[in-house]
Symmetry: C2
Subunit: 220 residues, 2 copies
DNA sequence: TACATTGCTGACCCGTCAGTCATTAAGTCG
DNA sequence: CGACTTAATGACTGACGGGTCAGCAATGTA
């Protein structure tokens, strides 16, 4: 009459374990997450974790892999297929990142990787190669198109690509660290719009016939 | 004839322990740093650490306190005493931060706090109140002066202050995390100059008689 | 030299947690 | 139902590291 103490659900376990692990890694960091807790949140015991993943490290890698690769593919498709102004493409990439990462539990991964990759260099290298380099390349390609067409003024696409996403990345890093000490008054949408507003005005080539130089006067 | 096994140096110990702790906390993070190693790097044994600091947590707090308060005082003075264009003031603040933090061992603190503050909320609150809020206020005040004088166009100084430092903070966070997995090709000075170049062009009010709107077309 | 003071040592204690494995019981088949 | 397979359990091990403290040795005093 009573429910069985546990059920056999071989197919569903890995996904449930990955979801639980993502939550806890993001909440507490890699080192501070106990596999007992991951198991409990997934509704199993610790031994079960080891039926599906050979070690804590492999579990971590699986979480990162499952989460971000599909999003990168979406972004690459956007760059390849976009027609129209590059300013618009950049707005769309930022918006897509915000919806696909910023508003999902995967928003915790940047902070997680920043925190842990120095103590787990193999994981860091994996994330750098498979995620960051690929994302960066995608954005740089978009910027390059803006340079080629003359829509943007003459700037280094390497740096511009970083500058586009730096405020966004830092925002989600923030949310998963300091926001738990003190509620942030930051309104993400307004912040993003203001960033894009300033950035794109800064990038656009001046209208023909008018140049305003903004030069550094700092020494060195 | 041989040197004594150890010497009494009551006055010098705390500073040496703080320096060793800063290095190791920055290298490995708070949780992963063993007090045995801090002691060894400072040339003493673990017991000695507990003669000068009541716990690992208090040691951590002391490190943060010693490092950043003097720098904030310098920045506040710069804002209060500056005469001339606000674009110039912002360049100077950024340059001062880069020289006083970015190029020193304290550049590791942002990554350290980001990594640890969620697991040590008391530390996070301390850093947020004593360091970040104070630094943010200082920058916001500078931006406000630019708005009041009409040098900048009409923007939210709260967000602008964040946008000024986001790329810089992320850069040092990077340096203390991913750079150990793969040498970065980033040239910090050029990156900073390009950031300021784009940002300040984005902030400046258009010359009278010419307006170019850069509006969002993304849906909400 | 004898004695007192105290900065410093390092072996030890004890809680924690990744990883193991003997055991248990859910599901399956005849 | 009984025999069998295997998903799942959870007590256990061993390593690790924060924190303690009894004793030692460097220094001061007479």
């Amino acid at each position: 009459m009573q429910a069985p103490r546990w059920e056999r659900r071989k197919d569903a376990r890995p996904a449930e374990l990955l979801a639980a692990a993502l939550e806890l890694f993001v909440e507490r960091g890699y080192a501070a997450t106990r596999l007992d807790d991951v198991a409990k949140r997934a509704g199993v015991s610790k031994g079960t974790v080891y039926l599906y993943f050979p070690s804590k490290e492999e579990l971590f890698k699986a979480v990162v892999r499952e989460g971000l690769v599909p999003l990168l593919e979406r972004g690459e498709k956007m760059v390849a297929e976009h027609r129209g102004s590059i300013a618009e493409l950049i707005r769309n990439l930022v918006q897509g990142w915000w919806e696909g990462v910023g508003l999902t539990p995967y928003a915790g991964l940047p902070k997680l990787m920043i925190s842990e990759c120095r103590n787990f260099p193999e994981l860091g290298k994996f994330y750098l190669d498979e995620v960051m380099a690929r994302g960066h390349k995608l954005v740089r390609k978009a910027v390059q198109r803006g340079l080629d067409s003359g829509e943007f003024r003459n700037l280094d696409p390497e740096y511009v690509a970083r500058l586009i996403f730096a405020p966004l990345v830092l925002m989600v890093v923030w949310r998963y660290s300091f926001d738990f000490c003190s509620a942030s008054k930051l309104e993400p949408d307004a912040y993003i719009q203001q960033h894009l507003d300033i950035l794109l005005q800064g990038l656009l080539a001046p209208a023909p016939g008018r140049l305003r130089a903004v030069r550094s006067t700092a020494k060195s």
